[in-house]
């Protein structure tokens, strides 16, 4: 029982990270119908920006952890958002209205480019970081095992929930959110009624990158090591999460992320660690075969 609960906690934490990345995929897919393959690299870049900010603050003598975390969070979100914006402006906007394959190839090209860009600038070695938030609660102690809920996990879960509440309010209540939902339904029609479509799409990338950057910071805190290659696998799993939840649906992305995190945690705990990615991909394939619109997605009717 304790073991199960522990895996539940680990899986939820992991799932929150995937969910935050998945939102970026699902929003972009919802509006312009492309897989933003480079989104995983944006996540990776944000993890690097986080670690650099950490080190710089450490050199400046910033010792108080809560303030440091807030500063890092804000810096990383801002700087990563610029990357998201630039990515759309440079690589995707010129291709609007081109064949979908062209956009996908460009995205893959961008992904390769960004990976090597970071590798060139920061080196290929893994970057370790000492634990910043340590300690936690222990409960359900049995003879040799106790469930551990660390402060870090609480931080990740609380921060994600706060972000999700704020983000939902942004989408449902503000003018930007309205414009975004309109673009999602029909780009041409939205342009006709006076919505600045280019700006809305840019801001979508900015929001997606900002959320992914929070995930990057959490990943860094949770695992303590990053390298230039983390974006690929995390990106694919987050995309799987978006598909699982129903692509285009924001609550779906979060739900999918949580499910992927749980599957991964339980599979590693009860079966084999080596095949956890195979399990994730198999589930994605099964979902797509039996429920191609995902769990919360709208059916996609194709007309001739």
């Amino acid at each position: 029982m304790g073991y199960f609960l522990q895996q539940l906690i680990n899986g939820l934490t992991l799932g929150m990270i995937y969910g935050l990345i998945a939102i970026g995929y699902t929003m972009v897919y919802g509006i312009i119908g492309m897989i933003n393959f480079a989104h995983g690299e944006i996540f990776m870049i944000s993890a690097f920006i986080s670690i650099i900010t950490f080190l710089v603050l450490g050199l400046l003598g910033m010792g108080w952890v809560p303030l440091a975390l807030v500063l890092i969070l804000v810096t990383t979100m801002l700087l990563t958002a610029v990357y998201g914006w630039a990515l759309e402006r440079v690589a995707y906007r010129p291709l609007r209205g081109s064949p979908r394959l062209a956009a996908l190839i460009t995205a893959i090209g961008m992904s390769i480019f960004l990976q090597n860009y970071v590798q060139l600038l920061q080196g290929a070695r893994i970057k370790p970081l000492q634990p910043v938030i340590s300690g936690g609660f222990r409960f359900l102690s049995e003879s040799d095992f106790s469930v551990n809920l660390s402060y870090l996990q609480i931080f990740i879960i609380v921060l994600t929930i706060c972000l999700m509440l704020g983000f939902t309010a942004l989408i449902n209540r503000t003018a930007l959110g309205r414009a975004q939902r309109a673009c999602e339904q029909d780009l041409g029609m939205a342009a006709l009624v006076g919505i600045d479509v280019d700006r809305t799409i840019s801001l979508t990338f900015v929001m997606g990158a900002a959320l992914a950057s929070v995930a990057g910071l959490m990943f860094l805190l949770n695992y303590g090591v990053i390298d230039f290659y983390i974006g690929f696998l995390a990106g694919i799993k987050a995309f799987t999460a978006a598909v699982l939840g129903g692509i285009g649906s924001l609550p779906g992305a979060m739900l999918g992320g949580l499910l992927i995190g749980l599957i991964e945690a339980f599979w590693s705990a009860y079966f084999t660690v080596e095949y956890k990615d195979v399990a994730v991909f198999s589930i994605m394939i099964l979902v797509l075969i039996f429920r191609p619109t995902g769990l919360l997605g709208k059916p996609d009717i194709e007309k001739v």
Binding site: L55, P94, G97, L104, I105, Q115, E274, S282, I285
Partner: protein
């Protein structure tokens, strides 16, 4: 002179505040992009990591962005003169410095005048400045004219793609002839032949994938899985049962084709991007299984000692075991290690040609027509009585079969395979070759493979920039020609009563 003054009066007046604001905005964005990853570098120190600063590079990049953008604005507003007089001397000075540096070794000490520490980045800057100057010179001669993307696309089709396609009838045999005599040319050394082998492997894989992506329109991001199946089939059959390359080759193809059908079944209902992501997942699954199924595949250690191909049973070795004939002794030649490379070169040439011939013939068969119809409209196809399931499965199987052939050639060439060789990036490269060349274009695949595989191999010294340039090239080509370099296709059927065949142009 009158013309010039007319043109000058026709210019819109510049608003300096606006121009500075636009250039400043670009500079600010470049600053925000570079301050984190360029401005600080993480470095290992005992017991952890620390950061060192590189603010100089950030400042230079920002300044360059500002002036580069300023130059582009001036060109857009039809004022090339200031751009030309700044960019041209700048480019020339930089080129002169760089050449000086290359020729007379760095000890003269001019290197400190270069803006960046890295020589390659300086070259890039010089080229960028030269391009800016060139565009300025061009604007002098020609009115700046707004072209829509579609216009540009059509113009490129007419000017570049169509002549190349027409010339393909001539270029194809020429290239083929060149490929055949290449090993006997004086320029052919081991390195060139190795590059040739590599390029032709990718050409063959590109032609194979073209069946799936170009003809059937099924976006496959996991093609490397079939490549891996082919390679492991040959490696395992050869090492366990002591079979030769030519016997295993068909088996490898069949195994890969089965893998294709295996993948094909579940994904038949999926379309477009979903299909892409599922095939990607499949490719990764195959790699993970190869990595972890230690008893069968030897896991991350890979399989070594894979037999090399032999020339009708004659091996390419210097000291054969007692009583066996080798290639050089049979033909009375002296032993030379390059013989084996030349032989491999011809093997892959043969395989690639077979792939080409097969796929070209395939296009005339009903099944290929069905693929193309399915690509255009699946629903309409279904109502016309085409069975989408079988049609897609044949495409997957045939494409995968060529992947398997390519894989077993790879295994025999390397003599050693491990899951490391079958990562997603390989799939991406092969797909990029097909799409950049122009989907469905056979000659386009050749050009794209030479461009993406051959050129970077020549610039091995720039190793660390190789993949960066690869990604950037993919993006640039797609933005420039979203349908691929040689995507233009002449209509194959004309109406017989077309009135003026000579009227247009």
């Amino acid at each position: 002179m009158a013309v010039a003054s007319d043109a000058a009066t026709a210019l819109r007046p510049l608003d300096p505040a606006y121009v500075l604001k636009e250039a400043g905005a670009v500079a600010a964005i470049v600053f925000a992009l570079s301050i984190s990853l360029v401005g600080f570098k993480t470095e290992d120190v005992p017991g952890g990591i620390t950061v060192v600063t590189r603010f100089g590079a950030v400042a230079i990049v920002t300044v360059i962005a500002f002036f580069g953008r300023l130059g582009l604005i001036l060109l857009r507003e039809g004022r090339p003169f200031p751009v030309l007089v700044t960019a041209l001397p700048f480019a020339l000075a930089l080129f002169a410095l760089l050449l000086w540096d290359q020729l007379f070794a760095p000890e003269i000490g001019l290197r400190r005048f270069l803006p960046f520490g890295d020589i390659i980045v300086n070259w890039l800057l010089a080229i960028f400045a030269a391009i800016l100057a060139g565009r300025a010179a061009w604007t002098f001669r020609h009115e700046p004219r707004e072209q829509s993307a579609e216009e540009r696309e059509k113009k490129m089709d007419r000017v570049v793609a169509a002549p190349v396609q027409r010339a393909a009838r001539l270029v194809g045999p020429l290239l083929l002839g060149f490929a055949i005599i290449l090993p006997f040319l004086p320029i052919a050394d081991r390195r060139l032949l190795d590059i040739g082998i590599l390029v032709m492997t990718y050409i063959m894989l590109g032609w194979g994938l073209n069946v799936v992506v170009g003809l059937a329109g099924l976006l496959d991001l996991g093609y490397v899985a079939f490549y891996a199946v082919g390679a492991y089939s040959y490696a395992l059959l050869a090492t366990h049962f002591d079979l030769g390359f030519w016997i295993c080759l068909p088996f490898a193809g069949i195994m890969a084709a089965f893998a294709g059908i295996l993948l094909g079944f579940p994904v038949l209902r999926l379309r477009g991007d979903y299909l892409a992501i599922v095939t990607l997942g499949f490719g990764e699954m195959v790699r993970i299984i190869l990595l972890n199924w230690y008893d069968f595949t030897n896991g991350p250690d890979g399989i070594s000692g894979i037999p090399r191909p032999s020339f009708f049973g004659l091996p390419f070795v210097r000291n054969p075991p007692e009583g066996t004939e080798t290639f050089h002794s049979f033909f009375g030649l002296s032993y030379s290690p390059i013989d084996r490379i030349i032989f491999l070169y011809y093997v892959i040439l043969l395989l690639a040609l077979a792939t080409n011939a097969f796929t070209l013939r395939l296009r005339k068969l009903p099944v290929s027509r069905a693929w193309e119809a399915l690509r255009e409209d699946e629903t309409a196809c279904r109502s016309l009585g085409i069975n989408p399931r079988n049609t897609k499965l044949t495409a997957f199987a045939i494409g995968a079969m060529f992947g398997g052939f390519g894989g077993s050639f790879f295994a025999t060439r390397q003599g050693f395979i491990s899951p490391e060789s079958f990562t997603f990036i390989e799939s991406a490269i092969i797909l990029a070759i097909v799409v950049l060349g122009g989907m469905g274009s056979q000659i386009g695949v050749v050009f794209a493979a030479i461009l993406l595989i051959g050129l970077p191999e020549f610039f091995r010294e720039l190793q660390q920039f190789r993949m960066l340039a690869f990604g950037a090239t993919m993006v640039t080509i797609m933005i420039w020609r979203p349908r691929g370099l040689l995507a233009h296709r002449e209509p194959t059927i004309h109406l017989s009563d077309e009135k003026t065949p000579t009227g247009h142009n």
